[in-house]
Structure formats: C-alpha cells, structure tokens
Symmetry: C2
Subunit: 240 residues, 2 copies
C-alpha cells in the first residue's frame, strides 16, 4: 500500500481499513505480475525463447487466482463493512480494474502461445519492429495506470487515456504495413498473421490500461468517464 493514497490513509484505524488495505496490496501485486507477464510474453516472441513463452502461459493460472481472491476480498468487504462514498468507489473501481488486469493477463498468455508457435514454425519475416515499439508503449501504459491507481493520480490517469489514442493509431498503421507485406509476399502469410494477432493483443492491452485509468478518475472524482472523449474528460475533471 502506498502511504500517499488518500483513501487508505483517511481511516485512522479500523478493521475496515485493514481489510481494504489487504485487498489493495493484492491488487497492486497482481498488477506488477501482469505487467511482467506482458513484458515476458513480448520478450519470448522477439528472442524466440520457447521456455519463457511456456512459463508465461503457465503463470496465467496465478493471475487468474489473484482475480478470484481479489473479488472474494471485495465481496466480503461489501457484505461486512458497508463502505460508503469514496471507500465504496474504491471497492467498485478495484472490482472493475481487477477484470481488466485479468484480461491483460489473458492477452499476455495469448501472445506467449503465438510466440511458442513461431519458435516451432519459424519466425515471421516482418512486424517485429512494430511489436517491440507498441509493446514498449503498452508496458508503460500498464505501469502508469497502476501507479495512478496506487496514488489516485488523476493527471497520470489522463496521460494513459491519451496514450491509448496513440496506440490505436499506431496499431492501425502497423496493420496496414503487414497487410501490404502479405499481399506482396504471400508465402509468409501464415507467419505474418501470427504477428498480426500479437499486435491486436497489444492494442487490447492498451484498452484495458485505459479502462483502469478511467476507474482512477471514478475513484478520485466520482465521475464515470467511460465512453467519453479525452476533451470532455479533461473538461469534466477540471470543473470539479
């Protein structure tokens, strides 16, 4: 638990605080694990490391177990402690963000599965530069989203939302490049398709990091900014 988190430090001392802190710590640990899973999945692909790819797929079970534990912890808090106001928002935000973290874990496992295939079938001749680039960016997004979550930092959350728009553009551009390549050299279609699925997974990871950031804004400001343009979000946040 970060000592600077204003929700977790406003309770002077209580069973409630201990319960919420325990789940919050678990949530942040899961976040760190998921971030590592994405990093390892990309490494396994770029370095054709089959063992690392297998390891990522195996560790997805741990991610799933975290998801279950966190939801169970949150349900107990709701049942026993009846949180209100910002405490309730934190419980709800963690429940939503928990799903996003688990889905990021799924995407990492998917990338690792493809990496394993490419180790066996032979590497793709194209798309690795794009994978490395977009991969690095979404890793930063996960990290920043979790950091914003830990510190309830709305400005940081806004940065992640903005970064997601960049990712979407770069994903579109990378897809077009790979498609052109497939048309020019159809012998590699199957292997290039694998890279296409990896890029798709990374783009989804970016979406989930954005979702987590939207939950930070919900926690801090009590505003539901899902399905809202960046301009509108900024306006709303600054008004309050």
């Amino acid at each position: 638990m970060s000592p600077s988190n204003p929700v977790l430090s406003h309770h002077i001392s209580s069973q409630f605080n201990e319960d919420l802190q325990a789940v919050h710590t678990k949530f942040m640990t899961m976040g760190g694990l998921v971030e590592q899973q994405v990093a390892n999945a990309i490494h396994s692909l770029l370095d054709t490391d089959a063992n690392l790819a297998i390891d990522v797929q195996f560790k997805d079970n741990t991610v799933n177990q975290y998801e279950r534990d966190i939801d169970e912890g949150l349900t107990l808090i709701l049942a026993r402690r009846h949180p209100a106001a910002i405490d309730l928002r934190m419980v709800i935000a963690m429940s939503k963000a928990n799903t996003d973290l688990e889905r990021i874990g799924d995407e990492a496992a998917k990338i690792a599965r493809i990496a394993q295939n490419l180790c066996e079938e032979g590497e793709s001749p194209r798309g690795y530069m794009e994978t490395r680039h977009i991969g690095n960016q979404v890793r930063v997004m996960i990290h920043d989203a979790l950091d914003a979550f830990a510190r309830l930092d709305v400005d940081q959350a806004l940065k992640v939302v903005m970064a997601d728009a960049d990712i979407d553009r770069e994903y579109q551009s990378a897809t077009r490049t790979l498609m052109t390549y497939m048309i020019e050299d159809p012998r590699h279609i199957s292997r290039v398709m694998n890279v296409m699925w990896v890029l798709r997974a990374l783009e989804r990871v970016g979406d989930h990091a954005r979702n987590i950031s939207e939950q930070v804004i919900y926690m801090a400001k009590g505003m539901d900014v899902r399905h809202t343009s960046i301009e509108e979000i900024e306006q709303k946040v600054n008004q309050k």
Copy 2:
C-alpha cells in the same frame, strides 16, 4: 422482471426490492438491445446493408448509456441498502455481466464498421458461410445466457458454457480455411482479412456470453467458476 426469479420474488415488499427490480429490468432490456445489435451487425454484413451498419454503430451509444445507468443504479443500492447473501451476489453478478454486455455491444459495432467498409470496397469472396453459422450460434448463446440470468437457471448457464467450447473450435477451423484461401488467392487478402476480424469479434461475443453464464452460477450457487473446466464446473454444481 421475470416472476420466476427467486431472488427478486423473495422480498415480500421493500424499497430494496423496487430498486433491485428497476436495475434488473434495465439489465434485461440492455441484454435484448445487445442481442439485436449483434443480429443486425451480422445482417448488415451478409446483406451488404450500409444503412443498417451505420444504425448499429450509432446505437452503440445507447448501449453505453445503459452500462453507465446500470452501474449507477447498482452503486446506489450498495450505498443505501447494504444487500447481503444472494442479494449482494446478484448486485455483483449484474455489475460484472453489465461489462460483458457492453463489450458484446462493442463487438457488434466493430462488425458493423467492417460491414460498412465491405459495402464500400466490395464484398469478400469467402467466409460468409462461416460468419452466418458462427453468428447464429453466438446469438443463441447471448439469448440463452440472458434467459439463464433472468431465471437463475444453472442448467441453462452450463449449456452456454459448453456451447462456447464449440464456438472456439469452429472459430479455429474457420480461421484456418480463410488463411488457406488467402495463400491461394492473395488478390483478396485485404477483404478476407475483414471477415477474419468479424469471426474474431464473434468468437469474443461467445466468450462474453460464457462470462455472463458463469455469473449466473455465481448468483445461484455462490461459486466462482471462472477459469474452471466444464467437467469441474459440472462436478461442483452437482455437489451443492
């Protein structure tokens, strides 16, 4: 609200029941809308109906508004009514399933966007039979999952979980077919790729229908059956 729903009928009369019923009704209405959105998205693709495709993308805003309204309703219930036991599980299940419904709506909008492209650029020469077939199956899955949710029907929920395994197999097979076709006739790669993305979206819809069904089992039995094999789920459900 279905009169046969055991959660909603066990309260003799209370403000709590009214609040929960109101959100439940909204949830079921959203479910019907989302089911229709998927059906229309597939129609717009198969019948190259650009107007219908535009309509689906536009109506996604309504789906998003439902998501926000439902979450707001659930948060108010948690803050004011402090539900316990199966009532609390219903609130949590609806919150999770709400996210899945909204994501199904996203996938429908995605399919409609691709349909619109294909109306403009020319149809794909392949993959429509697979789209029709898998499309029909996932529509049935959404319908059955919502029906199971309304009636808290665990057996029906289990059927949806099993259907998802079929979808995954058929999706894999359809993908292989389309890939072979692209390799044989690279002139159509770009248009066939569009159908590939549609199939991917439909496969995701199947996953979300499965998620909703898992929440039915959670509501009814208090068991978290996410990340659990069908055999284990059946065993667990029958033990209790």
